[in-house]
Every structure is written in structure tokens, then in C-alpha cells.
């Protein structure tokens, strides 16, 4: 279990997330979402659209925070799709880091349309 969490943290940080444990950072104007899953192999948070979790919440604000329970972390994409077990939301976003573009001179810039700053808060099971 903790190995999965460690892998998630390593890959999420590599993807550009700031990972916190326990307490959510207080940032004015930030969008806050409850992540349904985390994917260890890619360091992604998975957000399902639902009543109370609009699709654009993780895209419109410049800063976004995902709350993720440690026991909701799965190994990889195959495990994620297996965990859905046929319950497919209208929109499932697998988010791996901040909004980014390399369209101008192939140089990386963050925060093009979506957030420039993304956080994950891990909650112990």
C-alpha cells in the first residue's frame, strides 16, 4: 500500500504537482476538487464529473487543489479502468500536472488555458 503511495508521490511531483499530506494549503481563488482516484504509474489525479464536481472546476482557476485519499490510489491506467467497473461518469479527467504548452519555439510554458499551479493533498485512509 505505502509503496503505491510513494510511487504516486514521486511521479506526481515529476509531473509538476505539489504534494501535501493531511492539510490543504489555503490559497485564495483556488479551485478545490475531490479526486476519485490517483494513478501511481503516471502520477495523475482522476476527477469524475458529478453533481458538486463540475467539469471546468479544475480548468478555469489559475490554481487547483485535488484532495485524494491514499486508499484511492491505483497502480496504473489498466487498474483505474478496472476499478471503474462499468460505472462510467459523463466526463472523466485524468490530470497529470499543470496546463502546459510547447507550441511556441518548443519551449515549455505552464498555465496556458488551465491552471499554472496544481496541488494534491493526500489524506490517510
Amino acid at each position: 500500500m505505502s509503496e503505491l503511495v510513494d510511487t504516486f508521490v514521486r511521479n506526481a511531483e515529476a509531473a509538476g504537482f505539489e504534494v501535501h499530506r493531511g492539510e490543504a494549503p489555503r490559497i485564495a481563488g483556488a479551485g478545490v476538487s475531490r479526486a476519485d482516484y490517483g494513478v501511481a504509474a503516471t502520477g495523475s489525479v482522476v476527477l469524475a464529473a458529478s453533481h458538486g464536481e463540475p467539469r471546468a472546476r479544475h480548468l478555469v482557476p489559475e490554481v487547483h487543489v485535488s484532495l485524494l485519499r491514499e486508499d484511492a490510489i491505483v497502480a496504473d491506467l489498466a487498474a483505474l479502468f478496472a476499478a471503474l467497473d462499468g460505472r462510467i461518469p459523463s466526463a472523466l479527467a485524468i490530470v497529470t500536472g499543470p496546463s502546459r504548452s510547447a507550441d511556441i519555439e518548443q519551449r515549455l510554458v505552464v498555465g496556458v488555458h488551465g491552471p499554472r499551479e496544481v496541488h494534491v493533498v493526500l489524506e490517510a485512509s
Binding site: R55, L59, S90, S101, D103, E105, V109
Partner: protein
């Protein structure tokens, strides 16, 4: 058809970008436990869907409509354009996320003619739209533009000078496109994959524009090439592992979205209507030919980055929507070999494209096969076919071969006097054959 070398700036930019993308891909492939096994699985998945395309399409349409979406099957580009235009009637602004298929069917012009303003929201595509140009690379569309070019284009929109600095340019584009996301009546996207078992569309973007155009407007229209079907979600997980790694070297594209039907009644945002426009436009004809493996292509762009022709000439030289090795195979198949007889020659047949393809399409073999068809179907010019017939007649008979080599010394002088030999010799010194033949030295 000729493939001139690019001017200095775009050549350097293309060279640097393709080299960077090549290195990123090879590093990302190396990070996988067994990339060859994954490529084999990906090939098997793609061919399974293509071999039984009609059944898979039927399954997808059933699942999509069960989820509340609507499928529109279009045989031709014309039909697809008309369908999208009809769906957009009454709309005044459409926000568009990157779609090569929309370029293929020339959608933007048709919508403009129908009175719908279409704005591209992918940063690279937006820049090209402002410049009135078309993409030159599948995943790096504006590869040849400098930040000074971009600053000029974005400044013209706002009527104020924007500094040619990366951050300032990105912020300006964000500002300019926010209005489009908020006010658009329709969101138009492509589809990287469609999942048959769930009726889902899979859409990947790094900027997040794909998410915004499928969240805020009241209608979402997704353009789907009929071959982009994937049987199951498990199969999708295999292809997603290869798509971003092969395209940009990322483990996964930043925003990977699975869209299944329109918004539910209790949800705060999302489109009320989801329309999937499924486009054939020649694909089923390819499925029924010996070129069907070309339909396995997932549009990652890896073959462009390794191709010596693409890297020297750039995407615009191909004069078509799809460029590089995948374009040189796909475009003649879609449009007809007789309309694109030059493209199969846009290759050195070195095989780098085949080695770079994540779904193992034998690209250089297909190019060779197309060249065979050019001759077999008598599309190649008569003089060219005659020359090769004479050549094969002479060189497949030892006495005539020996005789012909005796005249090489004289022949090479005459070769520079006319036809292609003259063009070739204009800027070069022709090699001089040795005085004595090797066979005479024994």
C-alpha cells in the same frame, strides 16, 4: 513534385524540434519495461478493431446512444461538413480544439460559409489561424514560428504591442481565448480514440483547451475517423501508454479525458448535446486493400521526427494535411494515387519511420508498395516506365550488362546534357568512372 530544403530559420527550428522530440520519445520508450511487447499489443489491438470494423462501429454507436449521445455516420468529407454545419445552425461562435480530421475535411471554411465564426483554441493552431496558415506537424503545428512572429500576430488582435516573451505571449493568448470559451455556442473537437464497449470518446490535450470546449458550450461535436475505434477500456490503457510517450515523450498527456454522453441532469456544466460525427472519407476502401495496416496510425508524429525528408523539407512541402512518412502513405490512399503520385517518392526508404512507429506500421514497406502500384497501374510517366523497362531488359542479361558497362565512360558525359541528368548536373560535378572496369583487371 519537389521537396526543397527549407529556408534557414524554419530549417533550424524544424531540426531542433524534431531532434528534441526524437530524444524525448526514445527516453520515454526506454522507461517502459518492455516497449517491444507493448508495441506488439498495440498493433494487435488496432488491427483487431480494423479487421472487424463494422461490428466495432455498431457496438460503439449502440453504447454512445445508450449514454445519450448521437452518432452521425458520414461517408464523405462533403457529408461530414454538411452534417456539422447543420448541427451548428443558429450558432454564431464555435470553439475548436485541435483536430487533424477537421483539416482533412476542410471544416472551417464550410462553417465560415454557414455564418459560424470558428476559433482554434490550441495555442499552436490559434497562432496559425491568425497567420492564415495550416499545421506543418501533427503535434507541433506551429513548429516554424518564432516568438517574434507570434508576438506580431497576437498584438494585432488586441491592437497593443505584446512583448515577444514566452510568458507574456501565453498570457495574451489565454486572455484572448477566454472570451471564446465563455461565449461559444458549440465546442468542436477531434477524438484520439473511441471506446466501443462504453461509447466513450477519448480526447488528450496538454493545454486543457479540450476540457474547456467540452465543458462550457451547450453542444459538443466530436469528429471521429471511423478507424479510431478501440474495443475496450483495457485496450485503451495500452494505447495511452504509447501515445504521449511517442508524441512528446510524456508518460501521459496532461489532460486525458474520457467523455461518455452529454451532461447528466444534476450536473452543473457540460454539454446538453453530444454529437459524434464519424467520418469514413476513404478509410473503408483502405481497410479492404493491402494497405489496411495504415489505419492503425494513432497520429503521434513519431515518424515525422525521424524522417530525413521531413526534417529537411518541412511539413508544408508535402502540400497536404498529413505530412511525413504517415502522410506520404495515407494521403495517396485517401485521395487516390493518381492525384498524389509524388508522395510515395518523399522517402529515402531508410526505414527509420517503421522503427519509430509505436503501433508497428511497416511504413517504408507500404511506400515501396505504393511505388510498385504507380508503375503497375501505369500512373508513372511513360518515359519513366520505358526507361526502367529498357534498364531491366539490359541488366537482367549478363552479356548485355557487360556491354553496357563498357559504355559507362561515354554515357555519363551524355547524361549531363538533357533531361533529369542536366538538372542534377547543374549544381554538381558528375563522378567520373574509372578508365578500366573492375572486371577487366583480373
Amino acid at each position: 513534385m519537389s521537396f526543397p530544403v527549407l529556408d534557414e530559420h524554419p530549417r533550424k527550428a524544424t531540426d531542433a524540434a524534431t531532434l528534441r522530440l526524437f530524444r524525448a520519445r526514445t527516453a520515454a520508450w526506454a522507461s517502459l519495461d518492455d516497449v517491444q511487447a507493448l508495441r506488439d499489443r498495440a498493433y494487435e489491438i488496432r488491427m483487431r478493431a480494423i479487421d472487424d470494423l463494422d461490428a466495432h462501429l455498431g457496438q460503439f454507436v449502440t453504447a454512445l446512444e445508450a449514454a445519450g449521445g448521437k452518432a452521425h455516420l458520414c461517408a464523405t468529407a462533403e457529408e461530414a461538413r454538411a452534417t456539422v454545419a447543420r448541427l451548428c445552425s443558429g450558432a454564431s461562435l464555435a470553439a475548436k480544439s485541435k483536430s487533424m480530421l477537421s483539416e482533412e475535411i476542410e471544416l472551417n471554411g464550410a462553417l465560415a460559409a454557414a455564418g459560424v465564426e470558428v476559433v482554434e483554441t490550441d495555442l499552436g493552431e490559434y497562432i496559425l489561424q491568425l497567420a492564415g496558415e495550416h499545421p506543418v506537424h501533427i503535434i507541433a503545428p506551429a513548429i516554424e514560428k518564432t516568438k517574434e512572429d507570434v508576438a506580431r500576430l497576437l498584438s494585432a488582435v488586441e491592437g497593443v504591442a505584446i512583448e515577444p516573451q514566452l510568458e507574456a505571449l501565453a498570457q495574451a493568448a489565454r486572455r484572448q481565448l477566454q472570451r471564446v470559451f465563455q461565449q461559444a455556442d458549440v465546442g468542436i473537437t477531434g477524438a484520439n480514440f473511441a471506446v466501443c464497449e462504453t461509447g466513450s470518446i477519448c480526447l488528450v490535450t496538454n493545454e486543457g483547451n479540450g476540457g474547456l470546449v467540452t465543458s462550457l458550450p451547450r453542444m459538443h461535436i466530436a469528429l471521429l475517423g471511423v478507424e479510431r475505434l478501440v474495443p475496450t477500456l483495457d485496450d485503451l490503457s495500452v494505447l495511452l501508454q504509447l501515445l504521449a510517450r511517442s508524441g512528446t515523450g510524456q508518460t501521459l498527456t496532461t489532460y486525458t479525458r474520457l467523455l461518455t454522453g452529454p451532461r447528466h441532469a444534476d450536473e452543473e456544466d457540460g454539454p446538453e448535446e453530444l454529437h459524434v460525427v464519424v467520418v469514413d472519407n476513404g478509410r473503408k476502401r483502405i481497410r479492404d486493400s493491402r494497405y489496411k495496416e495504415m489505419l492503425a496510425c494513432i497520429r503521434c508524429g513519431a515518424c515525422l521526427n525521424v524522417c530525413p525528408i521531413y526534417r529537411q523539407s518541412g511539413g508544408a512541402a508535402y502540400g497536404t494535411v498529413y505530412s511525413g512518412p504517415m502522410g506520404a502513405v495515407l494521403v495517396p490512399l485517401l485521395r487516390g494515387l493518381e492525384r498524389e503520385p509524388g508522395l510515395p517518392h518523399a522517402s529515402s526508404l531508410c526505414g527509420a519511420c517503421t522503427a519509430a512507429c509505436p503501433v508497428k506500421i511497416p511504413l517504408h514497406e507500404l511506400l515501396l508498395e505504393l511505388r510498385r502500384d504507380l508503375v503497375g497501374e501505369r500512373i508513372a510517366p511513360r518515359a519513366e516506365r520505358f526507361a526502367f523497362t529498357v534498364w531491366s531488359l539490359l541488366w537482367s542479361r549478363p552479356p548485355l550488362y557487360r556491354l553496357s558497362t563498357r559504355f559507362v565512360r561515354f554515357g555519363s558525359r551524355f547524361a549531363a546534357l538533357a533531361g533529369p541528368g542536366r538538372v542534377w548536373a547543374a549544381g554538381r560535378a558528375l563522378p567520373q568512372p574509372a578508365r578500366r572496369r573492375y572486371r577487366d583487371m583480373r
